[in-house]
């Protein structure tokens, strides 16, 4: 059975040594899962992809001590350098010639190596704000306004953010990633147009919140039926809106906190802890639950990003989140 914050697994009931857990379980797993090309696949042994590599670079960098830089993280950084497309974006899988949502986690990882990566980072950020989703076009919105599909869902057709793949619609998760990363973008790169786009995307996230708080992929209400929120998009949306102070933000944070006892997977448990810690609602039980969950789970259905998020969730410093906050030292 699953361990939950309400009923932690017996093996973790007495608490864990977080440092020991990270050093002896999480970091060796990540280092062992790295491919020869420096990247990581979604699961150990699979071809390297940008997104898992970006999360692993952040996780390993988080636990690099002082001037000692984790060699695996540096090799991962090298993979990200090599896979950036000429237009500044990153593809979701090798061979794709178009950029995708993976550009945001890649940029986030590059923030950790800002001194070496400034040019690549600038080009990535530039691509991010200059590449609109398919639903940003005036023609699309005009047609949408006229068609019956508007009555299917309650969300505004006038708001847009970022899409998973180029030329498609805006969704919660890629929009949240972009807002998080652009928060730290150099001012010289963000024109008035970019600031306007950020503002519209923030409104889009608020508009897409589920009626009871929290977010799913981006369908809060279909045919009059309320959508169920999910942990993963909720945490990223909360982190993207952390400065908003809106009632929607509080309602969604309340949902995340209330839901923490229902979480049944490593990825969602890790992100729940990340979200609650970052937003001032820490629950000490989550640390034990996460460690127990890591040990107990059928690890083959758990992916590398989930392990990287678990590692990041165990950090007390949370430098990887500070990387995206204006004015914070990297």
């Amino acid at each position: 059975m699953h361990s939950t914050p309400a009923a932690p697994d017996q093996s973790a009931a007495n608490g864990i040594d977080v440092a020991y857990f990270v050093l002896n379980t999480c970091l060796p797993y990540l280092r062992g899962a790295q491919n020869d090309d420096g990247g990581w696949g979604f699961t150990q042994g699979l071809e390297s992809r940008v997104e898992p590599t970006a999360w692993c670079v952040l996780a390993l960098h988080e636990f690099s001590e002082g001037p000692r830089v984790d060699e695996a993280a540096v090799r991962g950084f090298g993979y990200l350098e090599r896979t950036q497309l000429p237009d500044g974006s990153w593809p979701a899988t090798p061979g794709q010639e178009q950029g995708s949502w993976t550009t945001t986690p890649a940029c986030w990882a590059l923030l950790a190596y800002r001194e070496q990566a400034q040019d690549r980072l600038d080009r990535g950020v530039n691509w991010l704000w200059k590449t609109p989703p398919g639903d940003a076009g005036r023609w699309w919105r005009f047609v949408r306004r006229l068609t019956a599909k508007r009555s299917v869902s309650s969300q505004s057709d006038q708001l847009y953010g970022w899409s998973w793949t180029q030329g498609t619609a805006s969704w919660v998760e890629p929009t949240a990633y972009a807002l998080i990363v652009l928060r730290r973008a150099p001012e010289k790169l963000l024109s008035n147009d970019a600031q306007k786009r950020i503002s519209i995307a923030q409104k889009m996230l608020l508009d897409r919140m589920c009626p009871g708080g929290g977010w799913n992929c981006g369908n809060p209400m279909v045919y009059g039926v309320a959508g169920e929120p999910q942990v993963v998009p909720t945490v990223w949306a909360l982190l993207a809106l952390r400065d908003s102070g809106t009632p929607e933000f509080k309602k969604s944070l309340d949902w995340l906190e209330a839901n923490r006892g229902e979480v049944q997977s490593l990825a969602s448990l890790a992100l729940t802890k990340i979200g609650l810690d970052a937003l001032g609602r820490s629950d000490p039980n989550l640390e034990n639950s996460l460690a127990a969950s890591f040990r107990d789970k059928d690890i083959s259905v758990v992916n590398v990003p989930a392990i990287a998020w678990t590692t990041l969730a165990m950090s007390s410093k949370q430098n990887w989140l500070k990387l995206t906050m204006p004015g914070e030292a990297s």
Partner: protein
Amino acid sequence: MPRIAPLLSPPFSRPPSRVAIRRVRGYEADLSALLFETLREFDLPVRDKTVLLKPNLVGLDPLGMMNTHPAVIAAARETFLRMGASEVLIGDGPAMDRDTQAVLESIRLREYAGPLSRIFVDLNIDAVERVELKTRASRLKELYFPKTVRGVDFLVSLPKLKTHHWAGVTLSLKNMFGVVPGGCYGWPKNILHWAGIDRAILDINAAVRPDFAIVDGIIGMEGNGPIQGQPKPCGVIVCGDDPVAVDATCTRVMGLLPEKVKYLAHAGTLLGHIGEEKIRQMAESIESVCTPFAVLDAFRHLRHNASGPVWHVNCV
């Protein structure tokens, strides 16, 4: 060995398809025995082969309303092993939630199928290969597909009997959306919606056509499916060696007209049969199990008769 793309051919050059309808009391029944008895009639070439079962795992489902029931998945796995398959994998790529482990835990699949570490493949994050789409029904020229899907010897679509708010019905053909990897296209796989759902269904099934289909119609979903509809007890399992014919039969069981479902009508021209005269019906008749499903107003035209149930939506 890579799977060879199925030959696309018009109905007149295809042999008749076989579809079996079996009545089932509930998920507590001996589904394994029932499936073994039914599938034995098809003489399927699975001995010493690798089989991939592709259930419909849409999202978190603690109440068991929207996903293929784990009892059906486990029974199908047991059946193919009993028929001599060397390996029977279960794989899916949930479309609306990237946390596949959470989806699996919510339906308690481990309790039915045992440890998943060696048998479950998350198709969203599997290794992929680029496939040029020969049908070009949609504007997609190519798609990445999981290597597991392309590499197995025998692919089984294992959906739930449901209505669908964009496509009309979602059965074994629409279920194949789940093999398109979220790791390449996101959650949801919005590229398919932008290409046109009906047309994308054709392209995907032409590229990775299931060899067999088993539909969990014990409790289906009507109205605002595939996620937010209402459970609809129907008490059947429908299976067959032509996914188009299976879907056409299921649509008739739901009291709907397959030739009015856009993608099914098109599929009937090159992927399989939808005409009743070309489908050899086995076990129960359609009439004996027909259970009219409520549909959204937008799909009123799919019904056999105008007085059938309509899902009254409360649009805001």
